[in-house]
Symmetry: D2
């Protein structure tokens, strides 16, 4: 029997991967030191160092918002500013968490039609701001989203170019990697190449959307910046007493490359969906499908029919005139070809 | 074979209870709405309402510090103050989280030799402060710990007396119930009697120390105060996308009264330990053992020998002169009679 | 003898007006109640009520940044957002004070080529944001600058239209009136018409730039919103113990209409300068001169020569190609026709 | 004619000293650079360096609360703690400003029956806290009040002893010198000896209570700590655009030693009052009068009669039993012998 899953709403509506669950179950034995003094937390550090081919400082936390906001609080002062893309999660979807954790730093956005910032626009923006004394919030960091909120990926060269501008202006570089696995799969580059070798100081490495229950890792490549992190994490209520259950999710996720396999599965499903949609009359894929999200413009009556049929997805924007509705369709590690084909079939029939 | 567990360091060094784990495994199926729109979260609300015999507003979070700090942020303004006991967790062990989440409110402590605040001292303190305009931080809430950090419990009458003073002074009442189950077991009163019927507005209901992996519930009896909670929780990075895994811990914990059974087990072990210690020459139990923590004064050489033998516990204070070391010994739901007897035997032999 | 003043850099480089000084000297007698319990503070309230033809709640503070940031903290919650124009002082020139005083609220900007927000753009922006639950910072206020940072003024109809959109979306309305007197002079409308009658809840009424030493008044028309202001002002270190010296500046400024006379003088000087510049070949006035600031595009060699000759002003922007430099030239209440004509003559000679 | 002033309520109910006013009037000429680029601000720096016989970094601000809170924000991190005496102004009378400006740091108090902290108690307190990882707020600074809130002064040896403990524990040292001039007059020590030579890192140097309108100076002896101050001051709304009027108050206050003369006058009046009171039957001076504040226990009927006669002062505490009321009587630079004698005469007649 084939169970068709109709939920393309987000990669957070799905379950945890069995390997993650198994790691948690194995961790559930006997007494171990609390607050991170457990073997699973140590193992996370080792795994991350191996995967990124460098020595890092790693902090597990339970949510992406916590990972991003805490990471940013290590990069800017309360009176500083962060530059990000205009559709960034930290700007639009975290309820002011970055402002809260940084103590009031300002987020400034750059135009980014496909979710990616442009190094020249960054340089020009910084140059325009570099005017006077204490009246302006000094930009102290940039934040890239990889993969972006428009389902695209930053190639290594673009990251390096942005980092170069950042270094020149003495800014730190943060990467929001809620969908980092999907980006690595698409780019075919090493995790090292996409991060510290391209100038990234700290990465929010996502796991929740890609197979964990609630686990992310804040990975400092620039380890000096991690100095206050442990205290800020505790103050934010993000230090788990039984941290083994957080860390075991990450070991389960990282051991044996599960994270990459899951990312590849989700990407493949999204690509299949994207190509299927592109082939349909009246449907347009409006952003390159480079990760696990597909953005497509559909006629509104079709959108309504899909919703009525129980398909889960988000209306993202309404195009002017009769251009239709841009919807976001997200695939996850457990999205099957059958799931995708059923959706495509439904659309084909309903058009 | 009897496995002797030697860790009396905290109730957070132990594993999760199988029933909690089972509930998480059952929740790990298919796609469900994220961010709390799942059936497990709904079920938590129902269970809490039943247990407390009233309509409540409930928010699951992963840590006790998050529960306390977020709850307090609903009770006081950034320029307000909170009165708590001098050994309160919120004052001493949460790294400034209450100040962070409230936006800078002040914590003021009352003397509380056994962990409990005194209603008359509270009244006198408030009367002394009630002086002038805008220069002082207005006290806007009190926070009780139940069971207290000294392993004692507030009887219902004391809670009611403190709440009466609070009401008279227009203060809200918070209860830090990280060990609420242990208190209910000791008091033999209903959860309703110990909380809203005695004037408590909001309870941090602990589960992590008593069988969960990482789960607490913020329970608002005064539901008006919950108005901004959802936004503050998100802003604090404490809203799980896959919230079912947080809520399922709580359903597993609460269904069928597991929470009370676990609390009773931990209390019984602590009482056995306390009575055993009290019977030993040279050992003094220095606080009434009313929950799952035993505070005992031991000669320092004995403390050193226990540490060397691999027993885990905290040195809490050094008594003046030759009074010895006050140690904290914590029992949990999985502490067995054998564990306790082994420790007592070791002490008996080593004295 | 004519003293030519060459400083067009800002209206804050000049002295205080003699009538303001005189009021301060008169206040410097004997003992009076501190912290605002003095007759001058009471008089400020009366004067403001008369000028605005309604009952208000007024708080004197020493700086415009304090006035704006404290006023905004009364309008939005820490997790809320404020919409303002893209050149707003609160966004660009106050070092993050609004974020600091609000506890982390977010500032969002609208395109505003002449410094003014557009009601339709505001409506469209709010409609686009009105998506989902707790993930986005809810917009809770808008802030208008009157006169704007581009030297233009909002006509009453535009304020009313923006306020209507605000009301419909349940937003509060703040007006940054650092140059309010200049706007009133230009518009020829009553202070009431420009503020509460057009939907403004709270006004930062400037005095420093227009004749005071260091004095602004936060004027609440929506008096409910003033509830926490006194405590927030004290907590911000903005409550003067000898408040008479702050309030006396405001009585000196407001009594007998000095504020309007000063505003009119500054505006007249700016208009003379603007018209003189517009008549010169190679010079373009790039924004309508509706208050006391003139924005003009000058060839760069001319700008350099003026700087070398000791004229004070700001380079505001560099136009593309050979378009020259946009400079900002500010006139104040003590700028004379001779000052303006000397500058115009210098430019004429140097071209 | 002798004008008898009856206000002993505070040293902030009085006027500004003519020399301060004169300096402000002289500063009120022509255009000068704003935001501290004026000659008066430069002169303040020079004067402070001379007075303290060392190179300092100085920031004028308008209020004592701003001076203290901003200074403390330079010494501790948001998750840190500050130790102060239990009657400290920063703890009790600044509406949470230290918590606000530091971003949530915790204030911890030491018993201090006469307003002074004890080095041994400080050491013991720090030793007791030095327990564990990230759960406690690390103490990062101490704050002394000089003269204290009980009208006493720290001798140089006590400051040095406290600073030694601070250094050993890697804490910074702040001095709240709202009444610094009174302390210097009493101690007969140099300003250098009382501050940096005894280990003080930063001083809030008061002027408002002792002759200015609204002016204090934050003086950094440890100039590295001043790094972020300018930005924090701006963000707090405490940077005056027309800063000359703030700085001129300080030049008027400091030039020619006016500050010390004023301090000496206030102290002499207080001493005369204290000695007069001590000689009266039924009246007890309850703290040593070492500055310009007298704390005396009076029978309540006498207190009532004085209040009815229009004398201004604060009821500070009620002694147990029939011990009477402790009142605070403050003398200022303009309190005359006649003022004091009139009060003493009134008391003598009324007893």
């Amino acid at each position: 029997m084939t169970v068709i899953r109709k939920n393309f709403g987000s990669d957070n509506v799905g379950p945890a991967h069995p390997q993650v669950v198994q790691a948690m179950l194995e961790a559930n034995r006997g007494a171990v030191a609390s607050y991170g003094g457990d073997p699973w937390t140590a193992r996370v550090g080792t795994l991350i160092d191996e995967i990124f081919q460098t020595e890092t400082t790693v902090f597990p936390v339970a949510t992406g918002t916590a990972a991003n906001a805490l990471a940013l609080s290590a990069l800017v002062r309360p009176f500083g500013a962060i530059v990000c893309d205009e559709v960034a999660h930290i700007m639009n979807d975290e309820a002011g968490a970055p402002e809260f954790f940084t103590g009031g730093a300002k987020l400034l956005t750059l135009p980014s039609p496909d979710g990616r910032m442009d190094p020249e626009v960054l340089q020009a923006t910084l140059a325009r701001r570099r005017i006077s004394g204490v009246h302006q919030s000094p930009v102290e960091a940039i934040s890239l989203t990889q993969a972006t909120e428009w389902g695209t990926c930053y190639p290594v060269s673009r990251i390096a170019a942005l980092s170069a501008v950042a270094r020149e202006n003495r800014l730190h570089v943060h990467m929001d990697g809620a969908r980092f696995a999907n980006a690595i799969d698409f780019l075919g580059a090493t995790p090292a190449a996409v991060t510290w070798q391209a100038g990234v100081d700290v990465l929010s490495l996502g796991a929740t959307k890609n197979g964990a229950m609630a686990a992310e890792a804040v990975v400092f490549f620039n380890r000096d910046l991690a100095r206050e992190f442990a205290q800020r994490r505790k103050r934010g209520g993000h230090l788990w007493s039984k941290q083994r259950f957080l860390s075991a999710q990450l070991t389960g996720y990282l051991e044996g490359g599960l994270w990459l396999q899951n990312g590849a599965r989700a990407n493949a499903a999204a690509l299949r969906l994207s190509q299927g949609l592109a082939a349909l009359p009246g449907v347009a894929v409006v952003q390159p499908t480079e990760a696990n999200e597909v953005f497509a413009a559909l006629p509104e009556p079709l959108v309504v029919r899909l919703e009525a049929a129980g398909y889960g997805f988000y209306r993202w924007a309404r195009l002017p005139g009769d251009g239709g509705i841009v919807v976001r369709l997200v695939c996850a590690f457990d999205t099957t070809e059958a799931d995708v084909d059923a959706l495509l079939g439904k659309i084909r029939r309903d058009e």
